[in-house]
Amino acid sequence: MTLLTMCATQLAFPATKTMFSRILTSALFAGAAAGLIAALLQLYFVQPVLLHAELYEGGDLVHFGADPVTAHPELPGMFAEPVRDGLSIIFTMLTYTGYALALVALMSIAEQQGREINGRTGLLWGLAGFVAFHFAPGLSLAPEVPGVAAADVGVRQVWWTATVATAGVAMWLIAFGGNLVSYLIAAGLLIAPHVVGAPEPDTFAGPVPTEIGALFAARAFGIGMAAWVLLGSFAGYFWQAEGKRANAAA
């Protein structure tokens, strides 16, 4: 039997369909809920910092000019730009739904191996997801405000993707490896991308004050961690709830 026909045959099994719809349903609920919370937190805590930076990016404010510049310029309030902020909410929810699909898929595999998945263990899953998707790449490619100098975006995306992949494998090994060798491999995988080094700009040309850049990176990490921990917990909870519902229906 070729691999393709095997896959096609598998898909016809009711058990396969049940499993797939359980993953989809749990991921959609968890991703939409965590994504909405993440979006609102970002709009309140991160967006004003971004808008402040854009005043420097666009040249409305100039750092280190002849006159001192106020640290508290007039900024548009939350939802002052409904289309822009609405799109941000939609795309944050989509992004977190994408994370949730990957997370729940891995949770389903872990549960098959006898691991307990629920809202409580989900907290750790969320923390591991934050490390893999935000913290590991962000350690060398810090979340950046608009206007900073940076290397070519394509090269940074390749490095980002490779770092997320190696960190993801490392988190799985730390959680489920269960022996010294897997912990050592995990440590190597976590460190390697930063030893290789992230793509850096040739020269610094960012017009944005360092205070704004630092606050932006810190806030992006903080909100990312909060949202991921919630995502993990929601994913674990809905995975349990959907499993019980499917069992009751069967």
Partner: protein, 56 residues
Amino acid sequence: MTTNAIKASAVGSTILPAVFALILGLGVVTVTGHAQASGLHDAAHDVRHATGFPCH
């Protein structure tokens, strides 16, 4: 059904949906976080910055 086929179906019913969901999820993240098409980039601009994706 032979024993092997039963075994295969048991493995398939758990692994295959997980693999599909994983690919789907990473695909969604790639589109919202990385795709450089200008409309997508503009719409997702603030999210990409706030979520730590390389943006532009």
